[in-house]
Every structure is written in structure tokens, then in C-alpha cells.
Symmetry: C2
Subunit: 168 residues, 2 copies
């Protein structure tokens, strides 16, 4: 199973792709889609859409694990992140990729085994599980890879109970 | 100039298209994109994207006037409206349609001449300006048509000052 992890944003979208055999994770690719500040916002959305389409077509993931959105104090930023996240969901659904949402708590629990784990611990465990020499950069890419591990672990649990059916 | 007005949402997206000569408005089409409750959210986004693409290709508007988003008390709804709005912006930018945002206050001021006008007054003035026999239904379509009038009026003002150049 090939999992695409996404840490959503509009200036930086972290992405990570892992293959999961049900036992081991293998990193395939990771990085970040960057859009330039000062560019018209719709143009930034278009850049994200084009790059997401490229990633979906090139790596053909089976599923996408994306961070759930919560609103922060900055409403303007929150609205723009949500607008960009809509674009990312659209790209996945147009490529028939099933979509799963996880909260930061679920990611920490799945990767470190402890919901209150620190960011550094999550990143270090991600590095170990994927047998990478260094913690991936930028942080958004590391977060996206952590989401792939979270989905792999969650999926495995569900597939045992439901005889191979993925949860919706 | 052909203007596409959009009242964003994820269950109902109101749209309205008007031709504006610099003097008169002529309604071209209006209606609403509806997505079914209970459908997976990414599928609803895809339905909006497909219908928006259809509208952009069929009516070939020169520009889009869309309502600016503000957050309400319901964060979950706010996030989902923003995600859908991102999709709508993407469709416009992918069809080379310039995008303009207006607040409800600006719409009221442009259509009725009074920022605190009631919804009913805005709808009735929209009906009169577009020479329609009845107030368009649903309300979302009427709101979208009001946005086309707002953009026409604002644009006209700007075009006088800037010798025909549209404001960015």
C-alpha cells in the first residue's frame, strides 16, 4: 500500500510518500510544495493544485493521510489554509485516492505511542521507522511522513477487524 | 464585460452571470450548485469543481466577484465553506478569470446605496436592476447576482480613474 501524507498549508505544503507492506515502511519521496509570498492568492492555489496533480500522477498513491484542521487565533490564516486544503482534497479525489484525516494527537499516538509526545520525538521516531539517516527537512515534510506511518498503523488495525476492508 | 457572481458554500453555491455594458446589466443565467448532505465531503468538493468548470467553460465570464469570507461561531462549517471556496477560486484561476472579493457591506452599498440595507432590499434592487419579473430563487442565486452588480459598479468607478484598467 502506497500512502501519501500531507501537512496542509498555503505557503508550505509538506508531502511524504511511504510504501507499507503491513510490517515495514519504506520511504519513497518527501518534500514540500512552496508558494511565494506576495503572489496573488488564487495563483498560489493553482501552484498547489498543479503540484498535487503532478505528485498524484507520478507516484500513484493508494490513499492520502492528511492532517485535520482546527482553527487558531489567526482567522485570516485559518481561512487561507482551509482554502488550500480544499484544493489538496480535490486533487486526491480527482485521482481516485481515498482520503483519511488524522489529528495531531492521533499521529503522536501512532508514531510515538504517546499522545503528548513532543514534536522532536515524533520526528525522531519517524526517522527511525523509515530508516532514514537524518530527520527529513523541512519540518512539514517530516510531519507528512509521520502521517503516512499513522495511517499505516491505523489501517493495519482496521484491516484485521474488517477482513481487509479499509475504513471509510 | 461578463461577470460571474458567486455566493460560496459547500451545500449550496449560488451563481449568477450578468453582462454589463458600463450602463446596463443584462442577466445571462443564475442558479445554484447543490451537493447532497451525507455524501463524502471530498465528493462534494469534486461536484462543486466539476460544475464550476462547466459554468466557466459554457459562459466564459471575464471576471468573478465572490463574497469575502468571515468566520462565524461554527468553526466546522467555516472550515468546510473555506475548503469549498478554495475549489471555486481554483476553477476561476484555471480558466483565466480574474477574481474580485467583496464584503456583504460593499454589496449592499453598491446595490442599494446603503451599507445597512436589509437582505430583502438588496434582493428587490437586484431584481429591478436586472429587470427580472421575480426575485431569483434560491436566495444564494440572488446574492450571486447582487455580487455581479456590485462588481460592475465598482469596476466602473475604477475604470474611470484608471483609464480602463481593471483594478487588481
Amino acid at each position: 500500500m502506497r500512502i501519501l501524507g500531507i501537512d496542509p498549508g498555503y505557503a508550505i505544503v509538506g508531502f511524504g510518500i511511504s510504501d507499507y507492506t503491513g510490517k515495514n515502511f519504506m520511504p519513497v519521496e518527501y518534500g514540500a510544495i512552496l508558494t511565494e509570498a506576495g503572489t496573488d492568492f488564487p495563483e498560489r492555489l493553482k501552484a498547489i493544485a498543479d503540484d498535487m496533480d503532478f505528485i498524484c500522477e507520478r507516484y500513484m498513491p493508494d490513499c492520502m493521510a492528511i492532517e485535520k484542521l482546527f482553527f487558531t487565533n489567526n482567522q485570516k490564516t485559518g481561512i487561507d489554509v482551509a482554502q488550500a486544503r480544499g484544493i489538496i482534497l480535490l486533487s486526491a479525489v480527482r485521482h481516485n485516492i481515498s482520503i483519511y484525516e488524522y489529528t495531531p494527537l492521533q499521529v503522536k499516538q501512532a508514531v510515538v505511542g504517546y499522545g503528548k509526545a513532543e514534536k522532536k520525538q515524533v520526528m525522531d521516531m519517524t526517522r527511525r521507522i523509515l530508516k532514514l539517516e537524518q530527520i527529513p527537512k523541512p519540518d512539514d515534510a517530516a510531519d507528512a511522513l509521520a502521517l503516512t506511518i499513522c495511517h499505516g498503523h491505523c489501517c493495519k488495525g482496521v484491516s484485521i477487524k474488517n477482513a481487509g476492508q479499509e475504513k471509510k
